[in-house]
């Protein structure tokens, strides 16, 4: 079992004719993902490396029943593309694009909140956005929708959720090296306004019979980790190991991710670590110990 994506996912790429869009679409297909084509307005009807190209998401949905879209559209038009995917009936959008203006994402987020409220009143399932500025999502052995290196993963029972890309690979690698594997890994991205957050991912893992434990990787900035810790304490039925990056980051400086900034007393690594420990999670002291922290949590 897994969450959100698997063998049943029919994936398209928005921005498939761009260099990065095409390269990663090929990588995903090679991994075994049912990635059938993509959207580039004005290039509909063409084929690139055996991928269908459509002019719009609506056409792609009508043609192949796409239910996941991976977004590689450049920042200026990315928010537009995300909204297009949702409005075309695609329930899951994975936005890889880095550098989308924050206020564009604020509008997308508001759209999602209102739309999901309507959907929940009608008893329908929710729309989900992963990212932006994230590595994507992978269910090892079934579907890779993103830019992560597929070969370090191995099917298993550890769910991983993270704000950081390469740090997720580090955790995946450590888990795989220990002879274990992952159910699903979700990179929620490093931007201040984002689709899914830690709690959304934790909730999915909590309800997934195929996930037996969780690694949660956070970093300085904001209070999402503290909120997640409070949620874990109240609801989490499965062992959680955590790591927080940025113990040594100086206040007021943006550490690469727009979200990774300590301001005032809030958002420090130590407040996040304390909250996680208080919630019963095992927190790795260094990024090299994420695997061993998981082992401890499983004991």
């Amino acid at each position: 079992m897994s969450v959100l994506v698997g063998k049943e996912s029919i994936v398209i790429t928005q921005g498939i004719t761009g260099k990065a869009g095409l390269f990663h679409s090929q990588q995903c297909r090679d991994y075994g993902t049912k990635l059938v084509g993509g959207v580039t307005p004005g290039k509909g009807g063409q084929k690139v490396d055996n991928f269908h190209v459509w002019d719009s998401c609506a056409e792609a949905v009508a043609a192949v029943g796409a239910n996941v879209s991976m977004v590689f559209v450049p920042p200026a038009a990315a928010a537009d593309s995300i909204l297009e995917a949702f409005e075309s009936g695609i329930p899951l959008v994975v936005a890889i694009t880095e550098g989308i203006p924050v206020l564009d994402m604020m509008r997308v987020k508001k759209y999602l909140d209102l739309k999901n409220y309507e959907l929940s009143r009608e008893g329908k399932s929710q729309l989900r956005l992963i990212g932006p500025n994230c590595p994507g999502i992978i269910t090892p052995g079934a579907a890779k929708i993103g830019i992560m290196p597929g070969y370090i993963h191995r099917p298993g029972s550890v769910g991983i959720v993270s704000r950081s890309g390469t740090l997720t690979y580090e955790a995946v690698h450590q888990v795989t090296q220990m002879g274990m594997g992952q159910s699903t890994c979700i990179g929620i991205g490093g931007d201040p306004i984002q689709g899914m957050n830690f709690i959304d991912a934790l909730e999915l893992f909590n309800n997934d019979p195929g996930t037996e434990s969780v690694i949660m990787i956070g970093e300085i900035g904001g209070s999402a980790e503290e909120e997640a810790a409070a949620w874990i304490q109240k609801n989490m039925k499965k062992p959680v190991a955590g790591f927080i990056a940025g113990v040594t980051a100086p206040p007021g400086r943006r550490m690469g991710h727009a979200g990774a900034i300590i301001s005032g007393g809030g958002g420090t690594a130590s407040s996040k670590i304390e909250a996680l420990i208080a919630a019963g999670a095992t927190v790795a002291k260094t990024p090299a110990d994420m695997g061993t922290a998981l082992k401890q949590a499983l004991r």
Binding site: P101, P149, I152, G165, T166, Y169, G190, E219, G256, D289
Partner: protein, 394 residues
């Protein structure tokens, strides 16, 4: 991207946010002229304000009152060229290269007002306090009840009732509701017009002009969303490179995420999270990072070379730690970049490299056969331990 107070105030004026009148001055002469103009207009006091991006200027001696043109010129001479050290500049301080000469105001009361992108509510939020001039973050910590904070719905935007709540919280009653609403509406408008990520007015002041009292932005601090600046070529021109570390500027040219720090171990990493975590693990083993450097996910050999050169040129650096988890970034590309940078600039300090991921065997082999003296590590813990030892000379 940050801008100067004088630039922010000009943008405020264009937007209709009430603020002080003044002129920017890059020399004592210009300051004298600006002061003369203000005195000619009937002002009895002018304010000479150092223009640096960091806050805390007043306490560091960067804001002074003058009652005559000569006094303004004298103060301008003292402040221009001075290195201001404030809690936000770090110990090295920041040199003052320009001044803002503005009309003095008769201040009745000072407040704090800001609007920012709020991660928690995923919306724009307002923060206000009835005390101005103080450190809002300290106040949030010690007396959170003294801060009014609310989010503004994207559907409604700021309305009169927001203004009323603000006015009453600041102790201004009904008399200033419309003004408070105007401030909120205009700042909100400014956000969407400019892709701002923070607007801070500290202090917002109630000033008296004859018999009337009105609200005025005495200070203006604006930060723009770096991701949105591309849509505003005019705002981009406001960027002042002298406010940014030279190494960071060089890094920005190559689209590298670089932040200069005070330690002695240069770090080159791919990915922001891993880069932060690498700094942390270096510290765990007793070292201090000289920088944060994320070369990004899809760096070319050229980008890696430039990144490595920036580290090599830093005289503080006593050892270098390269920590790469190649996903999209291939290890052989990293190796190629390191080797070519070391050909251009002599590698004069110990180098520890930990490579993992795509094409790792090829990358390791290239480094081994390069003739460079490189310590290799398999895990990042081993790498951190080795680089700290190497830095200490054993």
């Amino acid at each position: 991207m940050k801008i100067h107070e004088h630039q922010a105030k000009e943008l405020f004026r264009e937007t209709g946010i009430p603020t002080t009148i003044g002129k920017v001055a890059f020399s004592v002469d210009e300051a004298r002229k600006a002061a003369q103009e203000l005195f000619d207009k009937g002002n009895s006091v002018v304010v000479v304000k150092a223009q640096i991006h960091a806050g805390g200027r007043g306490k560091a001696g960067g804001v002074k009152l003058a009652r005559s043109v000569d006094e303004a010129a004298k103060l301008a001479g003292e402040i221009l060229g001075k290195v201001l050290v404030t809690p936000q500049t770090g110990p090295q301080g920041q040199e003052v290269r320009r001044l803002w000469i503005e009309s003095g105001s008769k201040i009745e009361k000072e407040f704090y007002l800001s609007m920012l992108v709020d991660r928690k509510t995923q919306a724009l939020s307002v923060l206000a306090a009835a005390e101005g001039g103080m450190d809002i973050e300290e106040l949030a910590h010690s007396h959170p009840e003294k801060i009014l904070s609310f989010s503004i719905s994207l559907v409604s935007g700021p309305k009169t009732f927001h203004g009323r709540n603000l006015s009453h919280f600041l102790g201004l009653g009904e008399a200033h509701v419309a003004e408070c609403a105007l401030f909120l509406q205009k700042i909100y408008e400014f956000f969407w017009k400019t892709d701002a990520s923070m607007v801070e007015i500290n202090p917002l002041a109630l000033v008296s002009e004859g018999a009337t009292k009105k609200l005025l932005a005495l200070d203006a601090k604006v930060t723009f969303d770096d991701n949105g600046v591309f849509r505003h070529p005019k705002l981009k021109e406001l960027f002042d490179p002298t406010e940014v570390d030279a190494k960071e500027l060089e890094a920005a040219k190559y689209d590298l995420n670089f932040i200069a720090l005070d330690g002695s171990i240069g770090c080159m990493v791919n990915g922001a999270g891993l880069a932060m975590a690498t700094m942390d693990i270096v510290k765990t083993y007793g070292g201090e990072p000289a920088n944060f450097l994320d070369v990004g996910g899809g760096a070319t050999a050229e980008k890696v070379r430039e990144a490595f050169k920036i580290i090599l040129k830093d005289p503080k650096v006593k050892a270098i730690f390269v920590n790469i988890f190649g996903g999209i970034m291939k290890c052989d590309v990293i190796a190629e970049g390191i080797i070519s940078a070391s050909k251009e600039i002599q590698l004069h300090v110990p180098l520890v490299v930990r490579l993992e991921g795509t094409n790792v065997d090829l990358g390791r082999k290239m480094l081994e056969t390069s003739g460079l003296k490189i310590h290799t590590a398999v895990t990042m813990a081993e790498g951190a331990e080795k680089v700290v030892k190497a830095m200490k000379g054993n």
